[in-house]
Amino acid sequence: MLRPEITQTQSEDEALLLAPLTRTSRGFMLLVGLLATVALVGIFAYIRQLSRGLGVSGMNRPVYWGVYIVNFVFFIGLAHSGTFISAILRLVGAGWRTPLARAAEAITVFSVPFGAGSILIDLGRIDRMFNVFFYGRYASALLWDVTSVSLYLLSSIVFFYFALLPDLAHARDQLTEVPQWQHEMYRILALGWRDHPEQYRRLEKVLDGMAVFMTLLVVTVHTVVAFVFSMTLQPVWHTAVLGPFFLVGAVFSGSGAVVIAMAILRRVFRLENILTWKHFDYMRQLLIALSLTWMYFMITEHLTIFYGREIPEMQVFFQRFTGAYAPLFWAMLALCFLVPFPILLTVGKRSIGWMVVAGLMINVGMWLERYIVVLPTLTRPHLLNELAIGTYTPTWTELSITAASFAGLILLYALFTRFFPIVPIWERSEEVEAYLHEEEGE
């Protein structure tokens, strides 16, 4: 069985990356306990909703959608930056992304299920969810959603798993002091990977091919999510800009999340030499570009509405700027751009702490942005009568399910880092580099 030769620094790095797989810290147990509790409260809330009906939420007429749909859009969006980093940046050959790729892709793999789950939670008749497969109508944007999100979930998992294979084999071979069940898990999941150069070459080919597919998919997925809104005739929803806007917002919020994940992993697993300042700087530049693009779309959208002065649209416009949703709207602007952008340009250059602050603000701000997209339009639909006096207050059911979704995402992520290396070991190996270049030389 061939194994790539490991240099001194490489073996130090490798030891660091494999260390978490061999022990459970008290902090970890505490975290798992806390997250599991939050998740359980949410599960209880959902079971109650299932037995009583969606009336336990704050939704009503005309506000037929609320926090669950906001969560759906947000979680699917969060997933996009993982794919952006692992697939799109792979295609353009941005080598700096390699140590981050798995950490970012893990965000994708674990948040897409919560996005899809949020939609299922929102259904009036989840017992009939398979009707979408039996009677699906492709004229409906919702079905494009189901298709693309399912494909996205499946391909993300496969992409993630394939990229994990050599490291699973490594864990199988190197970690001798772990419990039997854990060793069995690595052995089974490694699918008999034998570290043969030809296997690495094939793996690279597959990952390259999948990266192309996933790039096309990621553009489709969030555009199609936007289509569910933009293909209705409701004021401010019905705009061509919504597709690109959602897409940019998705990569934006996801990139903020990647920064947070990177900072935490770096601190907890002592990966200072692997997730270096250089990586944070690249992410900082990416976030600056995305902030500006996001702000560009914000300005374009609202300026166009304001200039046109169409009555139904202005109702929604004022709901956002001065009406019931003004506090959240202005908070969103502050959290997405007005505060983090200067941080990224100045103190973010020198401090990871400030980068995390910016990342957190951006994520909270982007959740609010999804809220601002969904709610004001529903409270001010076309027919301006009693129908238009719409209000919405989310109930504890919706909020606890939201909290549980976030807790679930973090829990799955934490569990993953406990049992699998969060930075790819094989992609750092010089020997593997050599195998891959051998073919290019021929």
């Binding site: 009707n131 189901v146 076309h382 009693e386 129908l387």
Partner: protein
Amino acid sequence: MARWGMVIDLDECTGCRSCTAACRAENSVPFAGPDQAELGRAIFWQEVLEREIHGSYPFLERQYVPRLCMHCDDPPCVKVCPVEATYKNDEGVVLVDYGRCIGCRLCATACPYGVRYFNWYPPEFPDTLERAVNPDVPTRPVGVIEKCTFCIHRLEEVKARAEEEGREVTDAELVLLTACNQACPASARYFGDLEDPQSTVARLSRSPRAFVLLEDLGTEPRVFYLKGE
């Protein structure tokens, strides 16, 4: 093939809401209660909208607009349903298959007229309402959408009787067919076949006073209103 439509004369409508009440009784619309109604959960397949009061004292006027499902010829709701639980039948009536609806509410958000309603809780018929449930109309379970059906159960009955008697359905049988029309004390409402150029609705829909709501959206509603004087 018939094409069902309705005409409502806003000059005659007094805003009494008999149509709203009759529709609820005829179609066994579930009871929401004051708390749920305040939360915006009450179901009114047919609802009377109040426009702003205009004019100056003492010549004040308010227009009442009875609003029901428009049974649009290009329905935004049918377009978006992922499971084809809502559809337009071949006589133009937009219907909901209560057994298939998954309760995603995309149709409800897509309808610009706001005529679609959702069962947030299992339907309740307290006390005497239980005995008043109409056996001709299926009651809807929790978690599905419901809306005006142009009283299709009455329509089918009238068509069946005509066929039995070997004749066509007459315009007179149709004008006050729906529960809302039948209840109207001001005789402001008409129902009938828009395909029949001699029917009341076809003639009135060609009147210079005729208009439809939100015409610019291109939904092509089949409910026409006659402008007040």
